[in-house]
């Protein structure tokens, strides 16, 4: 089975430690998924180039181009790794704007590994007081181990009984793979609409959304 692993990183710097953390988690998660016998297709969604498109999406109500592709990839992911810098006691506004642009049901049941970066370890609880509730609201399944990296973690080994970054990454990746195992793949659109006119695919890059099938009218008229 081919699993789609999608990384979302909201780092603003170039290079970005948030993006570096997401990539590191991506490598570990892909390895863990392959260890379970699956093939893995990794997509990395970086939010910085989508910042203008996200502002437009908030104002117009629809997404186009690369942003539409990114939202679709995330909505159909078998596993997600999300990484944000900590800004003012929480995830960044850009990160939240992207999440706001997702369909509220897009991540139901999707295993998600949450990760964050900041200048000091004093921000590490952002994973638990901001990111976990956000994905709990979306009814995603959040991996028990979240991965937080302060600047100092990029140069630290295991000391005083505290895990080094590397071992947390490996543990979180294995937990993610364990949650994915046993789930059906989500590659197919949730609401498949048959192509009515045979002209091209329904889900070309220009599509905004996949229109769900309506509830049959008799059911709307006479609920229950």
């Amino acid at each position: 089975m081919t699993r789609s692993l999608v990384l979302v990183s909201a780092g603003l710097g170039v290079p970005s430690s948030t993006t570096a953390l997401a990539e590191r988690l991506g490598v570990a998660a892909a390895e863990a998924l392959r260890g379970a016998g699956d093939q893995v297709e990794v997509t990395h969604v970086e939010l910085r180039p989508l910042a203008h498109a996200l502002a437009d999406r908030m104002l117009t109500g629809f997404a186009t181009g690369d942003l539409a592709d990114a939202l679709r990839a995330v909505s159909r992911a078998d596993a997600l790794v999300v990484a944000t810098p900590v800004f003012t006691a929480s995830y960044s506004g850009l990160f939240k704007t992207f999440v706001d642009a997702l369909d509220p049901d897009a991540l139901v049941g999707t295993p998600v590994l949450v990760a964050a970066t900041a200048g000091s370890a004093r921000h590490s609880l952002v994973l638990d007081h901001a990111l976990r509730p956000l994905f709990a609201y979306l009814r995603a399944v959040v991996v028990p181990t979240g991965v937080f990296a302060a600047s100092e973690d990029f140069g630290a080994g295991a000391t005083d009984g505290v895990d080094a970054l590397g071992s947390r990454v490996t543990r979180a990746a294995r937990e993610l793979a364990a949650l994915v195992a046993g789930l059906p793949t989500r590659r197919a659109p949730l609401h498949a609409v048959p192509d009515d006119d045979g002209a091209g695919t329904r889900n070309g890059p220009e599509e905004v959304d996949d229109l769900p099938e309506p509830v049959p009218f008799e059911q709307l008229l006479h609920p229950r």
Binding site: M58, E206, P214, V215, L220
Partner: protein
């Protein structure tokens, strides 16, 4: 094919002068625009319904009746009549009266409205908007078709032995369109009843409109009202024209950049590429509009939004002159290759003769 205009009825400051029209000026402007629409040969003028500032369009049938009295040919419609927060009994009565006064020169388009507080102001709950649209229309449909109605639902007081007066002109209820941007259930509702479906595609990409219309057509056939390509489809559109595209873009850009709906967002160029907005020469508007058929098929009604974003009345009237100039080419283009079995846009006279043919 009917070609016309539709309005939201907003009072918006002209961003180039800082001047805001009064409510009085705006209401009178709507009448002047409708008169002008008839002068240049358009078929339809549709007015909005809103119950909050900055809109003046709280009482559409009053304005429609006034316009009808001052015009002879143009068909009056709405964009939209709020089926959620307006009592269906009042809709039956108001539009039923209008149908008689205009000799059938009217129809209406139902919509739900997306302004949260308007619902509680009328004792309703926006979270039940779809249920309201379904139940209220089910009642309206009966009120115009059954002389005596016994009825009980969730959202209004029950009716026992109720007759909505006046009864429809010639026993033929006003034609109803159901308008929606993105709710498949509204397309389903229109299909179920064999009513018209209007996709206001001015704010969203064509790919979305194509899916919504295709869904409506497929379900229209499913419910036995005819073939999918015989379903009754209307589309929104939006343009700003000048003789040259450079002039059009230069003049319209400040209005676009500050427009209430999409202003301060995407560039005029991006939005024009992503949605049906066409800012350019008459030839460009003509070609773009005739291209709508490529993704919805041959359809029945094309309405354009032209009085918005703070555009002054004089500019709106000039837009109508320009639309009038390309109207013959638009009509010829829409007629080209249109199969004979695709129905014309519904009118009272046309529906009456169709009914009499069936009866004969």
């Amino acid at each position: 094919m009917q070609i016309g205009i539709f309005s939201v009825g907003d009072v918006t400051t002209d961003p180039t002068t800082g001047r805001t029209p009064t409510e009085h000026e705006r209401i009178k402007a709507q009448v002047r625009i409708a008169e002008k629409a008839e002068e240049v040969g358009l078929d339809v003028v549709a007015l909005g319904q809103h119950h909050n500032p900055p809109f003046v369009a709280s009482s559409p049938t009053t304005t429609m009746a006034w316009i009808a009295a001052r015009t002879e040919r143009i068909l009056l419609s709405t964009s939209t009549t709020l089926i959620t927060t307006t009592d269906p009994v009042r809709i039956a009565e108001d539009y039923g009266t209008l149908q008689h006064l205009t000799d059938g020169r009217m129809d209406l388009m139902l919509g739900r409205g997306n302004t949260g507080p308007v619902y509680p102001w009328f004792g309703k709950d926006i979270r039940r908007g779809l249920e309201l649209a379904v139940e209220n229309y089910a009642l309206l449909h009966r009120l115009w078709r059954e002389d005596v109605v016994d009825w009980q639902g969730q959202f209004r007081t029950p009716l026992q032995g109720f007759t909505a007066t006046p009864r429809p002109l010639d026993g033929l209820p006003p034609f109803v369109w159901h308008g929606s941007i993105r709710t498949p259930e509204i397309a389903e509702q229109a299909a179920y009843y064999g009513d018209g479906f209007f996709s206001n595609h001015i704010f969203w990409p064509a790919s979305h409109t194509r899916q919504m219309v295709a869904l409506y057509r497929r379900r229209f056939e499913h419910y036995g009202h005819g073939a999918a390509d015989q379903a009754v489809v209307g589309l929104g559109g939006q343009f700003f024209m000048r003789r040259t595209s450079q002039d059009a873009v230069r003049e319209f850009r400040p209005y676009f950049d500050n427009a209430p709906v999409y202003g301060h967002g995407p560039s005029l160029e991006d939005f024009s590429a992503q949605t049906p907005l066409t800012v350019g020469s008459p030839q460009q508007v003509l070609e773009r509009t005739l291209g709508f058929r490529d993704y919805v098929g041959d359809y029945q009604r094309q309405l354009f939004l032209i009085d918005h974003a703070g555009l002054p009345l004089s500019t709106v009237l000039e837009q109508l002159d320009l639309l009038g100039e390309i109207l013959p080419d638009l009509r010829a283009g829409f007629a080209e290759g249109r199969p004979a079995h695709v129905p014309d846009a519904p009118t009272h006279a046309g529906r009456l003769s169709a009914r009499d043919e069936v009866a004969a």
